[in-house]
Amino acid sequence: MKDSMGREKTLRLDLTPDGEAVAPAGVRPGAICDRRAFLKTASLPCLAACAGAVAGTHGLVPLLAAESDAQFIREAQFYEKQPYRKIKCKLCPRECVIDDHERGYCGVRENRGGTYYTLVHSRVATAHIDPIEKKPFFHFLPGAMAFSIATAGCNVNCKMCQNWEISQVRPEQVRSTYAPPERIAELAQQNRCPVVAYTYSEPVIFYEYMTDTARAAHEAGIRSVVVTGGYITEDPLKKLCKTVDAIKVDLKAFSEKFYKEIVNGEMKHVLNALVTIRQQGTWSEVVYLVIPTLNDSDAEFQALAKWVKTDLGPDVPLHFSRFHPEYLLKNLPPTPLETLERGKAIADAEGLHYVYIGNVPGHPAESTYCPRCHKVVVERAGYTVSGVYIKNGKCRYCQQPIPGVWS
């Protein structure tokens, strides 16, 4: 759902001390706000009851006292000690070599005396309840509500980042709340969310918190999904695949040039991650944010579709999503609909079975169609699912298996 500026709108829910979702004071139920306000004013009274802090952003906001930071700090996983108190991080392909007192590129992992620490365990910067279609996951529990959390930080710096106010800051620059894994699982249960989503910023960089929370959630019968840029090395990724239930990867473009200039990364690592997720058998979907003039050529769409079909398989859902100007790309226009439709047409022609158009509420390409009989098997408009015609994982009409997690 969009406002007049084409910006994503999200229902904002506040949570009472008992964890029940209510509309915030002064906001009528169902009221909506734009993304920037969404991130700035996310209010977590129930989580705040744990630590007396409120999620928000920087600016003139005083930061948490230094002594309260200790509760967020744990020794990190996936690193090597090196001479002279240096460490080499092994969590993501950057493999930052970090001196004592310094942090990695992500800004949330720090070398202290030759031991590497995550600074964001249980350090929630924003939390909301979203429909799972918003992530988007279209083949995973349609209609489910996802208890969605994020910490500060990210291991890339995409110029089009919609969440830069939490992803491109250090944890001490954003108000956060102490929310240990068991508390997240409890809140998800209380709010009748069958899913916890690790999203908004980049969950790879809060890996320890994400996996601990996923384990706590599983013990409570709640599943976990990850929304990520896929910039992660193989070993932690394989372990992650065993811990969570689905991973959606934002493939930012199909060119190394774009990844270097716009993302500050390398595409090959993301492609490797996508292949690994498939090989591990974890459910995955791919989103391609189409940015006018930067990654919207026919040649790029063609190469993308060919690669997805060959290396991942035609059944992996591919979402072409509309870009809106943000962060360091405010000079570009929103993606024209015809560009998204062109990308979809190319991917369909290549033989991919589930190609969607995102951020265009009401477009027919938001629904899922059986690749054999072409009937609608999941009917959607925006984030709302109005019908699911899949039984035992198969099209109700012609019995074609429809891959996904439907129950």
């Binding site: 600016g59 310094e102 001490e172």
Partner: protein
Amino acid sequence: MVSRDAQLRQGGASLDGGRLLALLDRGIQAMFDRDTPQEAWRQVVRPGEVVGLKVNCLAGRGISTNPQLVEAVCERLQQVGVKDIVIWDRLNADLESARFHVKEKGAGVRCFGNDTLGYESELATFGSVGSLLSRTLTAVCDTVISLPVLKDHGITGVTMALKNVFGAIHNPNKYHLDVGNPYIADVNMLPPIRRKFRLHLCDATTAQYEGGPSFMPQWTWPFNGLLVARDPVALDATGWQIIERQRAAKGMKPLKEMKREPRYIATAADANHRLGTNDPKAIELVEV
């Protein structure tokens, strides 16, 4: 301007305060060609201005801006009518680790990190960078004197005047890729930084040629000097060569062979930036 004093430590480890003040005075007077330090400082600051002293305390005690040097600068500033001085860096904890005392309020000399006032809410952008600027810089200081340290850096090659401005932005960790090039140069182009950083006093009383930015005592040496410049590019170019000479004297490879040649210095001097000059023929290097 490079001022040095072989007797700065009088044979001991700690600095002689009187000689340090004299060292500072010689450097400033020579820089501005004035007969007294007060006349020289009047070329930099005006009475009534709020003057920020951007120190570098990341490495804690050992290889951070020396509080005695800062004290000497404060003394001279107060003598020329500056009543409001702010010693600042990234974090209060960093300042305290380098033996500064955090004092957020009150008259005279204050001392605090960016975590006291936070950052602006709108991005400042140039070239490859987009950052939120420290409100200490944008809303408090009229002018800034940069007090970096003469040391190498494990990723960007060296860290002196041009990189000291990283303490004014919220996201320095994003700008170490490709040996800091062009990011360090681009950050220096952000208007409040370009406009307010007026003088660079590089603390070279103790310098470090390897293992930076952390304090590695085995790789420090008592240079016993100060580098004074209005041109941060010239200062960095000069400081880099001092470090290279020391590395060579100790049998170490030059930074280029270690894949950390500080190419951002040349970028800062290029036609797109013009932040200063790295041309040895154009740099007037004076030793006093």
